[in-house]
Amino acid sequence: MIDDTSAENEISFSYPPLNEVVLDIQFAQIPGLLSIHANEVWELYKKEYPNIVEQPLLEPAFEKFGAVPQMNAPNFSVARPPVGSRYWFMTTDEKGLLQYQNDRIISNWRKQGDFSGYPRYERISSDFRKNITKFNEYLKQRFQGQFLKINQVEISYHNVIEIDNFREVGEFLNFLDLAHLDAEGVSFNAGEVINDKQGKPIARLSIIVNSLYSNQGKDKAITFTLAYRGKPNSEGIDDAFRFLDDGREKIITKFNGMTTAKAHQLWEKY
């Protein structure tokens, strides 16, 4: 996936199928922080992210463990007045994206064109940390000492693997063999609970594969997403970024283990 060198894993690719990297921090809603303050938040980042787009809100997420999916379980959502939005603050080349809503900040690196501009995880994480810290300082000054109470963190790597036929999926992903099936599409979803050294669950690693078509339907690809999500050890920024670092290590290791030697050769692993 990754032109990402880990001191522990030493896994790098010259031409990985990485399309997007997302670092996502969710926090308790700040009393008094309203939609109207979004402009003040943008001002914190406007110099680097001068473009803005408005999007619908994202639902909150809380990873829990021990539950078995129930068929008739209700899916609840809170419908809030239509004054809340999610904002995309974007760099001029649109590779860099900072998403903001009143309980979440998300950093996206997106591939635009070829892969030569991938800044590496360390840089993405460092920049995101600066932006989170900036927002935290803004809260303290603007809202009488309020600060971030982080309750969920997620890191995800999104890959796009171009193929001619879905029978070829197994040539890239060693856990899916469709060679004997003329599939018109692919959808795969698996989750793995990650435990700490004491055996307590700390995160969920999700593996998602889906088929993708160009608008004309001529070109095919598969998306291969690995996402690591959970609650950090504490509500503070330090533990949030430790969680992201741990997640990235897990994702790299899992990606390497779930993709084939042939794929590694194609992507020029070194």
Binding site: A28, F65, Q70, L97, N108, S156, K200, T223
Partner: protein, 164 residues
């Protein structure tokens, strides 16, 4: 990915520069209310109306210093209820705390369970089983297995009550 995801899900085909895209992440509503999207759930109607009623509580609702429902706690509680749902078990009673917290209660045939959601991943729960005068107290964070076991036992207690 699902509607919780911050991925922008826009992909570029490097071979011929066509954009391959998929759209997600819709959440647009017109009124402040709780709704459940799975229509066959026995809990849906009861909890929909109850939480919508609680969302409307104003400061001082209890005649004292009662706070509005904490929305972050509400979000987590709703997420928890999706996991706790047990086919055949009645929906819980929902009681607001004066500090914005939420309490869920079940009382079935002498089997009592109370779950206090104090914050996301900060749950204080207790139960009393038939024939016992003692309460069992637990603190729950991420692993809700014990609460799920209690739901199963509550369901059996409810079934016994109907049979009896």
């Amino acid at each position: 990915m699902n509607m919780h995801s911050g991925s922008t899900s826009v992909f570029t085909n490097t071979r011929n520069r066509n954009v391959i895209s998929s759209a997600k992440n819709l959440r647009a509503r017109s009124n402040q209310s709780v709704y459940a999207s799975y229509t066959r759930s026995a809990w849906k109607d009861h909890l929909n109306s109850k939480f919508t009623e609680l969302l409307a509580l104003e400061p001082g609702w209890d005649g004292y210093q009662g706070e509005k429902l904490n929305l972050t706690i509400l979000d987590f509680t709703l997420s928890l209820l999706e996991d706790l749902y047990c086919d055949g078990l009645s929906a819980p009673s929902v009681i607001p705390g004066s500090d914005g917290t939420i309490q869920l209660e079940w009382h079935q045939n002498g089997y009592d369970v109370e779950i206090d959601v104090l914050n996301p991943y900060d749950i204080s729960a207790c139960r009393k089983v038939p024939g016992s005068e003692d309460y069992e107290d637990v603190d729950v964070e991420k692993d809700i297995s014990i609460l799920l076991n209690w739901m199963t036992e509550l369901k059996h207690a409810e079934e016994l009550a109907h049979v009896g």
